[in-house]
């Protein structure tokens, strides 16, 4: 089967990308969305809480309401989608092997592909907790799904490890449904998620939050009976003598999300080991021409707002690609990062006829800083500087490439994003 544009994944990234393709002038009938779940929406379907839409809608809505709005828009345009459909592989020639109730096993040949598969949770093995392996141990995302979609509680008395937004939202959900959340343990000295969530999810529900604390053992034979928690030092090492046993019948851990890119192994797409997503240019095109990617498949986002921005860029990018598939960039500028910068996306800028003006560089820092100065350097010379002030790894920073900045970047083989912390008005370090 042939299809002009195939979008893999129907979370916010995939759906908004489809809508954005149509806004750019692509015929709705040229698009096919492939979704492995039984409904459109992706992770939004289990997000029954509010807070979506702050920067791109007139109102703030719940995740399910946003999924509904986007799905309705897809149906109104009559864009084809298949659900309960699993992509087995994608290759360099843009052939997609998929099994679906509608078409059975088939190979779809596409002109352009958008990889919007989102992410999955890391597994408990990443946490390295000793003890036994009884039932009653869950990841936070799994708990959100079983409570909100299936109607099951993980247990009656729960200990939560991790203070990211997801863990706190789940802790509140359990408390609301009559569960007892014994405590939330956070190995760092500060919460991983936003201050608003600490107040709204934990303080307001009298759920204790223990900083510098981690879970060191899981106890119980067939069903979990207790966890052992310990204080940890600044390096995360548990402090002997501070162990405490907390009785519980369920343990929920949040250990982070990772882009889900397994199906693209045969494409030759290069993955960035820092983001775990593909190397992309400012059009969110991978190193395989005509294969684009956006959303959590590129990098883990904390807010859907940035996914919306990216997906809108991809729509226009796909249209541009279809208009001239043989177009080659005039030059490429690599974007490097100095220390304190966790990663930046895109990883390189490709200059075509329209230039690089108006493109955006997104970046994250690797810790919590009070007084950050962000600069861009070309051959050691500063071409851009901005006082960012407070910034934590939670935030996504943006550098807009203005006309002036684009002129300065011209001719460079690479530019470096640097971050310096200023204390008392003086630079504390000089990095290039």
């Amino acid at each position: 089967m042939d299809k002009s544009i195939v979008i893999i994944g129907s979370g916010p990234a995939g759906l908004i990308c489809a809508l954005s393709c149509c806004q750019s002038g692509i015929e709705p009938s040229d698009i096919l969305i492939i979704e492995r779940d039984s409904e459109l929406g992706g992770t939004l379907n289990q997000c029954i809480h509010s807070g979506f839409g702050k920067s791109y809608l007139d109102e703030v809505v719940t995740g399910t309401e946003l999924a509904s709005m986007l799905s309705d828009a897809i149906r109104q345009l009559e864009i084809e989608y298949i659900t309960d459909s699993t992509v087995l592989s994608v290759d360099k020639q843009k052939r997609i092997r998929v099994v679906s109730p509608k078409y059975g096993y088939c190979t779809i040949k596409a002109e352009a592909i958008v990889l919007a598969m989102g992410c999955r949770e890391k597994t408990k093995g990443a946490l390295q907790i000793g003890g036994t392996r009884p039932a009653g141990v869950f990841s936070a995302g799994a708990v959100q799904r079983i409570v909100n979609l299936k109607g099951y509680m993980p247990g009656k008395k729960t200990v939560v490890l991790g203070s990211g937004d997801l863990a706190m939202i789940v802790a509140r959900r359990l408390a609301l449904e009559g569960g007892s959340v014994a405590c939330v343990c956070e190995p760092k000295e500060y919460a991983e998620g936003s201050d608003e969530h600490v107040t709204e999810c934990l303080d307001n529900f009298e759920i204790p939050l223990y900083y510098s604390t981690t879970v060191t053992k899981i106890l119980g034979k067939e069903r979990i009976e207790a966890v052992e928690i310990s204080k940890v030092d600044k390096r995360g090492k548990s402090i002997k003598g501070t162990e405490q046993k907390i009785k519980c019948d369920s343990f929920v851990y949040q250990c982070g999300l990772v882009p889900e890119n397994e199906i693209i192994k045969e494409t030759g797409i290069r993955l960035d080991t820092r983001t775990k997503g593909a190397y992309v240019n400012q059009y969110f095109e991978t190193n395989v021409k005509g294969i684009f990617t956006c959303g959590n498949a590129v990098r883990i986002h904390d807010l859907v707002d940035f996914i919306v921005e990216e997906a809108q860029i991809v729509g226009a990018s796909v249209k541009k690609y279809l208009e001239d598939k043989t177009a080659k960039p005039k030059s490429t500028v690599r974007i490097k990062n100095s220390d304190k910068i966790l990663y930046s996306v895109p990883q390189h800028l490709d200059e075509y006829d329209e230039g690089i003006e108006d493109c955006v560089i997104y970046f994250r820092v690797n810790g919590k800083y009070d007084n950050l100065l962000i600069t861009l350097k070309k051959d050691g010379e500063e071409i851009y500087s901005r006082e960012k002030g407070k910034m934590s790894w939670l935030e996504t920073g943006k550098i807009l490439v203005t006309k002036e900045l684009a002129e300065k970047i011209k001719g460079a083989k690479e530019i470096v994003i640097c971050a310096q912390e200023k204390k008392n008005g003086n630079d504390t370090d000089n990095n290039s």
Binding site: I48, T62, E65, G151, L176, E177, E200, N204
Partner: protein
């Protein structure tokens, strides 16, 4: 402390066991427990559309419990 209560109610449907709902205005923290107890007794039937009022004047006059998802059957 006031918050928009978001939770789920039971639904009789071929595709879903639960229907996500929310209060269309924030409610006081003190009313949450009673609200959740009341919600546990509610059961609705498909079809339901986003925005449908599940229960009018839910905890007090002017605050309704509304659906945040459409379930066709």
């Amino acid at each position: 402390m006031e918050m928009i209560l978001t939770t789920t109610v039971k639904i009789k449907s071929e595709t879903s066991k639960l229907l996500p709902v929310k209060t269309d205005k924030p409610i006081l923290k003190e009313k949450l427990k009673k609200a959740m107890k009341r919600i546990s007794k509610i059961q609705v039937k498909a079809p339901i559309s986003v925005g449908d009022i599940i229960q009018r004047n839910f905890t007090e006059k002017g605050i309704n419990l509304v659906s945040t998802k459409s379930v066709e059957k």
